[in-house]
């Protein structure tokens, strides 16, 4: 079931889109903003709201890089793996980041459900390569030290919420 707020957010998108159906990506984004990812159940609910079939909506959901059809952690780290960051040795930082997070590769989520690490195409911050985004925040000129600081700060910020249930855990329940 979509919440009142989710319905309102979708409708708002419909108003500024060229047609109601054109709001489909926006609707997926709006629901993802509140739930963290798009489960099959969410997909069906949104499709019904937009008068589409779930399969039709899924063809859109799976096309766009930033719509998640699997559970993600509370924060998504997007490490740029495109050419300028590659030249500036992002791969070296990737190894450091994996160790720091205790995961073994892209696409994985930390045990506490706090971070998911994903690769990203060029973030348009090539003059500050290597670069990454955490959620909607951009970080450039990355070094091992600055990565440590960034991750630690997120952990401290979220510290008081650490016992709260993560979207990842919620997502698993829905499945």
């Amino acid at each position: 079931m979509l919440t009142q707020e989710e319905r309102a957010a979708i409708s708002e998108g419909c108003d500024s889109s060229p047609s109601a159906r054109a709001a489909a990506p926006h609707a997926l984004g709006a629901v993802q903003a509140s739930r963290g990812w798009i489960s099959d159940e969410s997909l069906s609910d949104i499709a019904e709201f937009l008068h589409m079939t779930p399969a039709e909506l899924d063809s859109i959901a799976t096309f766009y890089n930033r719509i998640y059809r699997s559970p993600v952690g509370r924060h998504v780290i997007l490490l740029c793996d495109s050419v300028s960051c590659w030249i500036m040795d992002y791969e070296y930082l990737l190894n450091h980041l994996l160790t720091k997070l205790g995961i073994s590769g892209f696409g994985e989520t930390t045990k506490d459900g706090m971070f998911t690490l994903l690769p990203s195409a060029c973030l348009g911050a090539c003059d500050h390569a290597p670069a990454m985004m955490v959620d909607r925040e951009l970080f450039g000129d990355l070094t091992r030290q600055s990565i440590d600081t960034i991750i630690d700060q997120y952990r401290i910020k979220d510290g008081d919420r650490r016992t709260a249930q993560s979207p990842l855990a919620t997502g698993r329940k829905e499945q």
Partner: protein
Amino acid sequence: MIDSPLTHAMKPTKEALAIDEYEDAGGYAALRTAVTEMTPFDVTAAVTDSNLRGRGGAGFPTGKKWSFVPPPGKRTGAAYLVVNADEMEPGTFKDRLLLEQNPHLVLEGALAAAFAIQAQTVYVFVRWAYAKAAQRLTKAIIEAQRRGYIGDNVLGSKFCVRVHVHTSHGRYLCGEETGLLNALEGKRASPRSKPPFPQVVGLLGRPTVVNNVETLCNIPPILRNGAAWFKALSKTGDSGTKLYGASGRVNAPGLWELPMGTTPREIIEKHAGGMKSGYNLRGFLPGGASTDFLTDRHLDVPMDFDAMQKAGSRLGTGTMIVLDDRTCPVAMVHNLVTFFARESCGWCTPCRDGLPWTQNILADIEQGRGRPEDLDRLELHCKLLGPGRTFCALAPGAVEPLQSALKYFREDFERHITEKRCPYKH
């Protein structure tokens, strides 16, 4: 007269120019002149005279593009102006600067363009990663509405216009003109078959012009200062200034608004501070991931549309990626092709199947499993994925760095194969 019309008013703090600051620097005067003193035809003519060419990469003449839109007497219903702010070409970061630091210039350019093609709706298609840009643009739209630059009867004229910001959910194809229109309609951002061209059949089947951010930013200064001034800004036959950039192992990666036709040597040595200590220049991609490599032999070729093409590459987005002598060119091309293979929308076969195949061959060579005949196979792919065989420019763009790498860095490919390892890894 100002010689850097796109960036001169920007604040050292990197904050967005507020509407008062923008107006104080002469902002919105061009829109006022356009809607109160000029006809849409006059505006298009002024832009055509200026010889402004599209800054998104293809370099199509902007005035000509607008002139293909049927005038209201010859069409029924709406027309649309779409701002392509879906910057995602690897190595490119120029539109971010304009969107974040001078959003009113983007808006004024879009509004003047909408007036020229008599569109009543503007969509600004912003990439998801540019959250700050979208936020600043949204604020600028509200400011502009309050001052009467957006809405019904703009500045007392008959021109009525609405502006919407659409944030994408990420895919390289969203930046392709017709892929963008599909994305805006809420579909998969696969490209459309052309013709018909979007100027005739575009968004929701209506006449639509899609212009790049930097292109539109040039419109207000052209209308304010005239075509002769705009042409005089350039060092060559292509008019205006260009936002040039450099990334890679240079001392000071960055962006600079310089006369069109500035040389790579000046950009790298003077503005980017030269190569980092211990690194020498091996080559460069002049304008993003989908342009052919050039080498030190091309450092004095003017960076404009025609000269870059004659040199065997393209100006593209004008933001160059520098390859140094300690970075493996085979691995670099592998990185580039991996990006294109991942971003291929799968709509047509050469791109969907050819790019992963190319990616696998390059991985083999890079990891020491390559065979001599692989080079022929790569050459063949450059042809089979080239222009004329696909719906859009993704695959032809993907093979541009590959085909030029095979030409300029052939020895590196051969060494990988004979030595069965990457000679750059110690």
